[in-house]
C-alpha cells in the first residue's frame, strides 16, 4: 500500500498539469466573474427562475471542467506508459522492486480516480468563489439563491455519481488508450485513432454499414443516456420549473445495462494486455 502511494505521488510530480490545469481554469473563471457583466435582469426573476438558473450555472461550471478533464485524461493515458520508454527512464523504474501491474494500476488510479477528484474539487472551489463574487457584486438575488445548500448537495451527489458511472462506462476507452501507450514506439495519438478509424472505413467499404461508427459514438458520447434519466430540458420545456437533479441518476438502469458490463470486460482485457506489454517493452 505504501508503495502504491509513492507511485501515485510520482505521477503528481511528473504530471504537474494534473492540478495546474484545473487551477488555471478555475482561476480564469473567478477572474471572469470579477470583471464580467452581471445580468441585473436576474434580480427581478422569480424564485423558480433563479433556481433553474442556479442549477444550470453549477452544471455549466461542472461541464467546463468535465470537458477539460476528458481531454487531459486522454493525453495522460496515452503518455503514461510511453514517456518513460521514450526517455529510457523506464530502466530506472524497472530497477526498483515494483511489479508492472503495480505500475499500470497506479496510472489507472490516477486517471480514473485521482484526476476526477481533483477536477471535482476545482469545480467546487471555483463555483463557490464565483458565487461569492457574483453575490457581492449583484448584492442580492442570483448570488443568494446559489448559497442554497440543497443545490450544492445535489451538485456534489451528481458529480460523484457521474465519476463513478464514468469509470465503468469509459473503462474500454481507458483500457485501449493504456494498451496503445504500452505498445506504441512512436506517434501514440495516431496509433490510438487509426485502428478504430480503419475499422469504420473497412466496414463502410466492404459492408456498406456503419455499425462500428455508431458503436464508437455511443461509447464516447452516450454514457449520459445510460447513466441518467432522460434529459433535464424536457421537464423544463413542460413547464416543471425545478429540474430536480436528485431525479437524474438512474443507477439501476445503468448497472443492469449489458453495454456497461461488456465494456468493463473489454476494458479489463485491454488493461491486462497493457500489463503484459509493460513487462516486455523497455524501449520506444
Amino acid at each position: 500500500m505504501n508503495k502504491f502511494i509513492w507511485l501515485v505521488r510520482r505521477e503528481f510530480w511528473e504530471n504537474k498539469a494534473i492540478w495546474v490545469m484545473p487551477a488555471c481554469i478555475g482561476g480564469l473563471m473567478v477572474v471572469g466573474s470579477l470583471f464580467g457583466k452581471v445580468e441585473i435582469a436576474m434580480l427581478h426573476a422569480s424564485d423558480q427562475q433563479t433556481e433553474v438558473a442556479g442549477v444550470l450555472f453549477l452544471l455549466a461550471i461542472g461541464g467546463v471542467f468535465w470537458v477539460a478533464m476528458s481531454i487531459y485524461s486522454v493525453w495522460y493515458l496515452l503518455d503514461c506508459l510511453y514517456a518513460d520508454r521514450k526517455d529510457r527512464s523506464v530502466l530506472f523504474f524497472k530497477s526498483l522492486p515494483l511489479t508492472d501491474s503495480e505500475t499500470v494500476f497506479s496510472k489507472l488510479f490516477v486517471a480514473l480516480i485521482a484526476l476526477p477528484l481533483v477536477y471535482f474539487a476545482a469545480a467546487d472551489i471555483s463555483a463557490l468563489l464565483m458565487t461569492f463574487v457574483i453575490s457581492v457584486r449583484a448584492r442580492l438575488g442570483f448570488g443568494i439563491i446559489l448559497w442554497r445548500p440543497e443545490l450544492w448537495l445535489q451538485e456534489q451527489v451528481l458529480w460523484l455519481y457521474v465519476i463513478a458511472t464514468g469509470i465503468l462506462w469509459y473503462l474500454p476507452v481507458v483500457g485501449w488508450l493504456l494498451l496503445v501507450s504500452a505498445w506504441a514506439k512512436r506517434a501514440v495519438i495516431l496509433q490510438a485513432i487509426l485502428p478504430p478509424l480503419a475499422i469504420m472505413l473497412a466496414e463502410r467499404l466492404f459492408l456498406g454499414t456503419h455499425a462500428a461508427a455508431l458503436l464508437f459514438r455511443d461509447r464516447l458520447l452516450g454514457g449520459g443516456y445510460v447513466a441518467l434519466h432522460h434529459p433535464i430540458n424536457w421537464s423544463l420545456q413542460k413547464g416543471e420549473m425545478t429540474p430536480g437533479v436528485w431525479r437524474l441518476p438512474d443507477p439501476v438502469g445503468f448497472l443492469s445495462s449489458a453495454d456497461v458490463w461488456i465494456g468493463v470486460a473489454l476494458g479489463a482485457a485491454c488493461i491486462a494486455g497493457a500489463v503484459q506489454l509493460r513487462k516486455r517493452r523497455t524501449d520506444a
Binding site: 509513492w6 507511485l7 510530480w13 530502466l91 530506472f92 511489479t99 523497455t282
Partner: protein
C-alpha cells in the same frame, strides 16, 4: 569458489529478435563475491544477456538469478539486485530529493543516509532537477542511489559512459572501497576494458551471442601465455600450436592456451596477456575458426 551455489546460472540462454540471434545458447555461471567483467564487441549480446538476467526480457533456455526466474519475478529479484543501464536514465523531471524519497519509499533495502552521504561528496543540490544536471552529475546521482541499496547483485552496463576520467576513477574507487565486500557480486560491462582490468576477479568474453571464455583473472596467468618470437623462430614456435598470433614491432606475438611454459621459454620472451589483449586474441581466433 565452486562449493557455494552460484548467484547467476545460465544454460542454453538464447534470445532472438526476428531473424537476428542476439544470444546463442550461452552458458555461464557467476559465483558470489566476484566482480565479473562481461566483455564483448558491440552487438555481441552483452546487453541482451544482462537484460535477461535482470528480468527485462523474455528468453529461451534456463536462467536462475538469486534463486529466481528473472522474467517472471523481476520485482522480487529487484529487492536483492540492482542495476544501472547503459545510459543516464533518471527521468528529467525528477528532483534529486524526490529521487531519494521515492527509492526510500519503494525499496526496503535502500539506506537513505548512505545516499545522502554519497551525494554530499558532490556539489549536487537536493533541490536540483535531473534535467538541469550535466551528464556526469546525472550518473553520479544514479550511482549514489544504486550504491545506497544493499543489493547482493549489482549489474552495471557501461556505468561510466559520458564521465570524464576523474569522475570515472572516482566511481571505480568508490565501488571497490565503499561498496564491494564479500557479500556482494558485481557484473560489469564496459568498452574501456583497461579501466576495469585491475578490479575484475573474473572475465566472461562474449561474441556473436556465444560465451568465448569464462575464466577467473588469477587463472589467466596459468592458462594463457604469450611469447614474443623473432622471425627466424616463428616456424618452431608454431609447432606448439598457438591459437592466435600478431605482428608487433618487428616480432611476432604468439598466444598459447594450456601450453607447457618450459617449452615456450626456449622460443622467446614469455608473458601473460592482459585481459584486453586476451580478449582480442580469443575473439579474433574464434572468428577465424
Amino acid at each position: 569458489m565452486t562449493s557455494s551455489s552460484p548467484l547467476i546460472e545460465a544454460r542454453g540462454l538464447s534470445k532472438r529478435y526476428g531473424s537476428f540471434v542476439a544470444l546463442d545458447r550461452a552458458d555461464f555461471v557467476v559465483q558470489p563475491g566476484r566482480i565479473v567483467g562481461l566483455i564483448g564487441p558491440n552487438g555481441a549480446g552483452k546487453t541482451t544477456a544482462l537484460r535477461a538476467v535482470l528480468g527485462l526480457t523474455t528468453y529461451e533456455g534456463e536462467l536462475n538469478v538469486l534463486g529466481r526466474e528473472p522474467f517472471a519475478e523481476r520485482a522480487l529479484l529487484m529487492q536483492e539486485a540492482s542495476f544501472i543501464a547503459d545510459v543516464a536514465v533518471l527521468p528529467e523531471w525528477l528532483r534529486v530529493q524526490q529521487a531519494i524519497d521515492f527509492v526510500a519509499g519503494v525499496h526496503p533495502r535502500f539506506r537513505r543516509e548512505r545516499a545522502a552521504a554519497l551525494l554530499a561528496k558532490t556539489d549536487i543540490g537536493a533541490r536540483r532537477r535531473i534535467g538541469q544536471l550535466s551528464k556526469g552529475m546525472k550518473t553520479m546521482v544514479h550511482l549514489a542511489l544504486t550504491m545506497a541499496i544493499d543489493a547482493r547483485l549489482l549489474v552495471l552496463d557501461e556505468p561510466t559512459l559520458g564521465l570524464d576520467i576523474i569522475a570515472r576513477r572516482g566511481f571505480y574507487d568508490a565501488l571497490v572501497n565503499d561498496y564491494m565486500d564479500e557479500t556482494r557480486t558485481i557484473v560489469i560491462t564496459t568498452h574501456q576494458v583497461e579501466e576495469v582490468e585491475n578490479l575484475l576477479t573474473d572475465v566472461l568474453f562474449i561474441d556473436k551471442g556465444r560465451i568465448v571464455l569464462d575464466c577467473s583473472v588469477e587463472d589467466i596467468g596459468a592458462r594463457y601465455a604469450t611469447v614474443e618470437v623473432a622471425d627466424d623462430r616463428v616456424a618452431a614456435a608454431r609447432e606448439q600450436r598457438p591459437f592466435y598470433e600478431r605482428r608487433a614491432l618487428g616480432k611476432t606475438l604468439l598466444y598459447f592456451e594450456g601450453a607447457d611454459r618450459d617449452k615456450l621459454k626456449g622460443l622467446g620472451e614469455v608473458g601473460v596477456p592482459s585481459v584486453a589483449d586476451l580478449f582480442v586474441a580469443k575473439v579474433s581466433a574464434e572468428r577465424a575458426a
